[in-house]
């Protein structure tokens, strides 16, 4: 609906109104963790937003330098974007493998694709569910969690963990797929489209939901690119950029899938609804990838290429992959003689995406800010690291 003209100090007759500072978070139900937003509000209209981050800072980069070897960094990487841990592991491991010039067996690559895409669905389900929660719809959240549970069960039977896996290792995987994995995966692939349709009926095409999200928090494509947004944030603005297509890694070039972009179906291109709907459609595309990958899955040994010692030659590497929240990149420097990285720098998508929040939320209402923040879909573990 209408956006509001920004007036810091409006004077009507002799009635003077002033702006108020409202502190949102770090303990607030819809800041998705411990983000603190300092809002300058004029009544209910937002004049400015100042995000304060760092409440969850755990010195990841320094930790990575202090480890005794490269493999020990993987569990720390898990804890960055803790709802998409597989994706983080994948990016880090691929960076190390690139630095070492390591070739991994095909089976490992296919399993990595399946896991990464399952993780993408799980992560988007959480994003969609909590987005409904932000807008006051409680039920979609639990329906999404019911589906996410099935994916977590798949992860659990594979590697024993449900959230932080330490599954993807340098040169291979910790475990091969168990025998019952195929049956369970097929069950999931069969039931998930129905569940997605239910969620669409309940939330995506709900009139109130559309009213709350269409034309809200519009992020124009040029602003998105300037701020370095990635993932659904960027694609929601209509920019067709997906590393799985544009810079294929693993075996992504062997699968057929679309890259959904925001089309402004319910309002303007790049509004909250577009970003949300890109996530919904990405889940469908991920399903396609998983189906194809499962059909082509070659036999092999997932442990055969795991090196005894991970000691990359002197040099540096930057590797980026498409995580559910956007482009995650690891920049690693190796000094060539020690077993731990000399420097690890992570480019976290949530952190970069969050930086655009003040830009797109000025002039909207407090209720809209919640909608905008939800559509950015941040994970504070990754923002603060």
């Amino acid at each position: 609906m209408a956006t509001f003209e920004i007036t810091t100090r409006s004077v009507r007759g002799d009635l003077k109104t002033d702006t108020m500072i409202l502190n949102m978070g770090p303990q607030h139900p819809s800041t998705h963790g411990v983000l603190r937003l300092e809002l300058v509000v004029d009544g209910e209209i937002i004049v400015d937003v100042i995000p304060h981050i760092g409440y969850l800072h755990r010195c990841f980069e320094k930790h990575a330098e202090q480890m005794t070897n490269y493999q020990q960094v993987i569990p720390y990487v898990d804890r960055m974007d803790y709802v998409a841990a597989m994706g983080n592991e994948l990016a880090y491991v691929l960076a190390v493998e690139k630095l070492m010039g390591l070739e991994v067996p095909e089976r490992v690559q296919y399993i990595r694709v399946i896991m990464a895409e399952l993780q993408r669905i799980a992560s988007h389900l959480l994003a969609v569910g909590t987005y409904g929660l932000d807008l006051g719809a409680f039920t979609p959240f639990l329906w999404c969690f019911r589906e996410r549970e099935k994916i977590l069960d798949l992860f659990e039977i594979t590697c024993g963990a449900r959230l932080l896996y330490n599954y993807i290792w340098v040169g291979g995987l910790s475990h091969d797929l168990p025998s019952e994995f195929g049956k369970k995966l097929k069950d999931f692939l069969k039931t998930f489209p129905k569940a997605l349709k239910e969620i669409n009926d309940l939330l995506t095409f709900n009139k109130i939901f559309i009213d709350r999200t269409a034309n809200i928090g519009v992020l124009p494509p040029d602003v998105a690119i300037n701020y370095g947004c990635s993932g659904p944030m960027l694609r929601g603005s209509g920019v067709k950029f997906d590393l799985r297509k544009n810079e294929p890694y693993l075996v992504y070039d062997r699968f057929e899938f679309d890259v959904p972009v925001g089309e402004g179906k319910m309002g303007t291109v790049g509004d909250c609804w577009d970003r949300y709907y890109v996530r919904v459609r990405e889940m469908e595309e991920s399903l396609k990838i998983i189906e194809q990958a499962w059909e082509q899955l070659p036999p092999g040994d997932v442990h055969s290429a795991i090196p005894k010692k991970v000691r990359p030659p002197q040099g540096e590497v930057y590797f980026r992959t498409e995580n559910p929240r956007g482009e995650i990149g690891f920049y690693i420097i190796s000094d060539g003689h020690s077993a731990s990285p000399f420097r690890v720098k992570a480019r976290a998508p949530s952190f970069v995406n969050l930086s655009v929040l003040p830009e797109i939320s000025r002039g909207y209402m407090i209720a809209d800010l919640v909608a905008i923040l939800g559509s950015v879909d941040i994970v504070l573990g990754e923002v603060d690291r």
């Binding site: 609906m1 209408a2 108020m20 409202l22 502190n23 607030h28 139900p29 819809s30 209910e44 409904g132 929660l133 932000d134 807008l135 006051g136 719809a137 409680f138 039920t139 639990l142 329906w143 019911r146 309940l202 939330l203 709900n206 109130i208 939901f209 009213d211 709350r212 209402m365 407090i366 209720a367 809209d368 919640v370």
Partner: protein, 331 residues
């Protein structure tokens, strides 16, 4: 002396009803929510399907510490929950539970209810202001704006019914609809009374701050709105008032449009005892509808809420009122 005794009993019965109903509806709300969300809810504690759990919840609330924020206005802070509950309890006085029981048979019954429930607004504003918390204040401001604007379509739709039946006395409104389903007000002047009911039901959702109009206590934006700072029994009073209000607006809907205590089968099962059954079950049906809506819909935004009230509901209810009035004159 016996007169005072009678009055005390008459005023005590609605209170007893509210308390029992609140305990039951707490359980129903949680169970409905659970089943809508594809889970079971209470199963292990509180006996069969957790039936005793609301009692434990209430006891817990009763034993909680009363915390009064340091810079709050202590008198208003304490008074607000009492006022909110008292005004919704006072409205029960004019609610006819059956043909032989009504605490106060006023001939301006519905007018009295509208007037007395307006006090809720003052209580909420007091709570928001005295808490000395920005979220509370924002919630209270939203709530007042919302209730004041939604009172207009509510009152207009009630007025439409009054035009159709020609009385303000709730007991008489029920009497008129005694002849079974076909004589219920909702089927009179088709389709205007149906539209009136829909407007009334929508507006009443906003009056009791339920989804999709639960903006004053929107937990994802305002933490808990006007009752953010409340604890223990004071907090429970707000809750009790909310549930009491839910049944109040549902009961009024049942009386105005669905025959109140009158049996849907005409003379069959129409003794006063059955009257209580019919009234309460009709009321609870609408409470159930409210609960179902709460667990289905997202929340509107403040300006959208105002838009719905002023630009949609109010004009339609004006037209409705005129059409019913015209029809009534021509008849």
């Amino acid at each position: 002396m016996p007169e005072i005794f009678n009055m005390l009993i008459a005023s005590f019965i609605p209170l007893l009803f509210i308390l029992i109903y609140a305990v039951v509806i707490l359980w129903v709300e949680i169970k409905v929510a659970s089943h809508v969300q594809d889970r079971l809810g209470y199963m292990y504690t509180g006996g069969f399907h957790g039936i005793a759990q609301p009692i434990a919840d209430l006891l817990k609330l009763l034993t909680k510490e009363h915390i009064t924020p340091a810079n709050s206005d202590k008198i208003f802070f304490t008074l607000a929950p009492v006022l909110v509950f008292a005004s919704s309890y006072a409205a029960y006085a004019a609610l006819p539970f059956t043909s032989t029981f009504i605490a106060a048979n006023l001939n301006v019954g519905i007018f009295y209810i509208i007037a007395i429930t307006s006090f809720v607004v003052i209580g909420i504003l007091m709570a928001g202001w005295s808490s000395n918390n920005k979220y509370s204040l924002l919630g209270a401001m939203r709530s007042v704006a919302q209730i004041v604007s939604y009172e207009i379509p509510t009152v207009l739709s009630i007025l439409t019914v009054v035009v159709a039946v020609g009385t303000l006395n709730l007991q008489e409104i029920c009497e008129i609809q005694k002849g079974g389903i076909s004589s219920w007000n909702i089927f009179k002047y088709p389709p205007f009374m149906l539209i009136t009911f829909l407007i009334y039901f929508t507006a009443s959702l906003a009056e009791v701050n339920r989804t999709p109009f639960d903006i004053p206590e929107a937990e994802s934006e305002l933490v808990a709105g006007y009752h953010t700072e409340y604890t223990g029994m004071k907090f429970a009073m707000f809750y009790l008032a909310e549930y009491a209000n839910m049944f109040l607006v549902s009961g009024i809907a049942a009386i105005l449009f669905f025959g109140g205590w009158s049996s849907p089968f005409g003379k069959f099962l129409s003794s006063p005892g059955w009257g209580v059954f019919w009234f309460v079950s009709k009321g609870l049906f609408f409470v159930f509808l409210q609960i179902m809506l709460r667990w289905t819909l997202p929340r509107l935004r403040v300006d959208q809420l105002m838009y719905v009230s002023w630009k949609v509901l109010t004009p339609i209810s004006f037209v409705n009122l005129m059409m019913v009035g015209l029809w009534a004159i021509l008849k």
